[in-house]
């Protein structure tokens, strides 16, 4: 059996400049943040992000200048920051191409990739400017010419239903990322992935991608996961690299392990307002630490222990979330 375990540095070295890439998680939950930081340290460039939805992790990559194309439906920090300042800045600088789809459309694009078909039909979001043919930004940038086999020839297609005569559907093209980086609570030593709680769109993101890197809170025996195969999401042969790395989703949260570190994200979101403050923030929290272990030590035990989930409730009962 092939041993897929490796260090975070080795795993991130598998990502190439200009890769089409996607991630596990939902906005500020179960994002593979330790790998994002390491991508910045390794100075990845020209990434083409395709995400069912986006969040803090992408603001970091965009702010650091690692991203050339962003295709998704939403970016922000939820309660901890409503404006995606990095993407906003790069958009106005015209250094990042933004291709807007709706959430369901992005989900279906990823699902089509996972199903091995080039598109899926949907009724979602008809009548909106998302479908405005003038707003096909990859086309405007000349990137739909077939030179890059990962980029489809069209943003959308409109097709009449010939079966039930229900009208005009939207066909959305599959996305087929070269890389998916996943944060999971548990992975077996052969690669079986178990996600606890909501699975978001992880199954589709993983199955649509050519190369799958998993950061897991813990590696557990396959024999344990195989006692209840109904609870597992992904078989091992779809996984290429496994990194055991506790707290590797911080500051995003992970069901059963830890809550979102709201103040941390709020500080980052505030710092992201200007390029200078963004640079200072990453100098401190990314380049200023050698690796994930140093990052955790910088955060300190008290901070992490407050975030740690109650094992019955699956979320932290110690974290202060509101004004009371």
């Amino acid at each position: 059996m092939v041993d897929k375990r490796c260090s975070l540095q080795e795993a991130v070295q598998m990502i190439q400049d200009n890769d089409m890439i996607t991630f596990s998680g939902f906005v500020i939950w179960r994002r593979p943040m330790a790998a994002i930081y390491e991508m910045l340290r390794q100075e990845k460039k020209g990434l083409h992000l395709v995400e069912v939805n986006s969040g803090t992790h992408a603001e970091l990559l965009v702010g650091a200048g690692a991203v050339s194309v962003w295709e998704s439906c939403w970016i922000g920090h939820e309660l901890y920051g409503k404006v995606p300042y990095c993407l906003d800045r790069k958009m106005r600088e015209r250094s990042v191409i933004i291709e807007d789809y709706s959430h369901q459309q992005m989900l279906y694009r990823m699902t089509a990739g996972a199903m091995g078909i080039p598109y899926l039909p949907t009724w979602a979001s008809r009548g909106t400017d998302i479908l405005n043919p003038e707003y096909d930004m990859l086309e405007k940038a000349g990137l739909r010419n077939g030179a890059n086999e990962k980029i489809p020839a069209k943003k959308f297609d409109f097709v009449q239903d010939p079966f039930y005569n229900e009208g005009e559907l939207i066909h959305v093209p599959a996305v087929r990322p070269r890389v998916c980086i996943v944060h999971a609570q548990q992975v077996g030593e052969e690669g079986t992935i178990r996600i606890a709680g909501q699975t978001y769109s992880d199954e589709q993101a993983i199955k649509a991608s050519d190369l799958v890197i998993v950061l897991a809170e813990e590696i557990v025996p396959e024999s344990y996961l195989r006692e209840e195969p109904e609870r597992n999401l992904i078989p091992g042969y779809l996984v290429d690299a496994i990194v055991e790395l506790p707290w590797s989703a911080h500051p995003t949260g992970a069901y059963g392990f830890y809550d979102v570190d709201g103040p941390f994200i709020r500080e980052f979101a505030a710092a992201s307002r200007t390029d200078e403050r963004f640079v200072a923030w990453v100098d401190e929290w990314v380049y200023g630490v050698k690796d994930h272990e140093e990052y955790l030590n910088k955060l300190g035990v008290s901070r992490l222990e407050k975030l740690r989930a109650n094992s019955y409730r699956k979320y932290s009962t110690k974290v202060k979330r509101g004004s009371r």
Binding site: W29, H103, D129, G167, G322
Partner: protein
């Protein structure tokens, strides 16, 4: 209903009024889609009051959860507590498209008189002034739920004659490739399931003439005048169907909202 004890102006905040008015939109046994923030408060309040059996769906993949700790986002583990099903986006978006969602609560940065909402950019899309977070599931839910209720802040710059970009479809939507505005029924044909039924702000409740697709004022919140409302709106308001004052929160509603739904003060400071 006769023994309802209404709170008086000053005893509740505008956010309280908003949450209470929104909660009253849901009927019992309905299947409801809710996003982060005020929609969560509204639906959880409704579950404690007139709609104990309404089923709450979160976009990130949980169905009919019954937790006792308010989630701060739809991806929060608190959404999973005592749910009927915890799955993922593919489950809930498919149910939406299958027509299983009765009501959805949504938000928006800008809205026009037809209920078209913008959460994408300020300014020309091709030379934008500012980026908003983007559509999320707003247009999907709004195009496929049977009724949607928007919860918004009432400001002149947010209530516009025309939004810069239609992120989420109202009653008059764009028909492509021409981009002409047509009625939602015409654009959606056989797959027309419904549309925006109310817009609830810190000042008023609006509803729609479903034939013309135009928004009108249904009720004004206690203490708000027509003039104040018009001053905070970027298009001319239709008061011809105004029923008067929005029913204020009751003490019981306020108690539940603050002591049961959001005791930590996450969305209600």
């Amino acid at each position: 209903m006769a023994d309802k004890q209404y709170a008086k102006p000053g005893e509740y905040s505008v956010v309280d009024m908003l949450a209470v008015a929104a909660a009253r939109e849901v009927k019992d046994e309905e299947v409801v889609f809710a996003g982060t923030g005020l929609p969560m408060l509204a639906i959880m309040l409704a579950q404690q009051l007139g709609a104990p059996n309404c089923k709450l769906i979160y976009e990130a993949g949980t169905i009919d959860s019954k937790g006792d700790s308010l989630p701060s986002s739809v991806g929060d583990p608190r959404c999973v507590t005592k749910a009927s099903v915890a799955s993922g986006l593919f489950d809930v978006f498919n149910q939406l498209q299958r027509g299983k969602i009765d009501l959805a609560y949504l938000g928006g940065a800008e809205i026009d008189k037809y209920g078209n909402v913008n959460t994408t950019v300020v300014g020309d899309y091709l030379a934008p002034v500012m980026r908003f977070p983007g559509s999320g599931g707003n247009p999907d839910i709004n195009s496929l739920a049977r009724r949607t209720v928007f919860i918004m802040v009432q400001e002149k710059r947010r209530f516009k004659e025309n939004v810069d970009y239609i992120t989420s479809p109202g009653w008059m939507v764009k028909k492509w490739p021409e981009g002409t505005l047509v009625h939602r029924r015409e654009a959606y044909g056989k797959k027309f399931l419904g549309g925006p039924s109310a817009v609830i702000t810190n000042m008023a409740v609006f509803r729609f003439n479903e034939e013309t697709g135009v928004m009108y004022v249904d009720t004004l919140h206690p203490g708000i005048t027509r003039e104040q409302l018009q001053e905070n709106t970027g298009f001319e308001l239709d008061f011809s169907h105004c029923k008067g004052e929005t029913e204020p929160p009751t003490y019981e509603e306020l108690r539940i909202l603050h002591d049961v739904v959001d005791p930590e003060g996450i969305f209600l400071p």
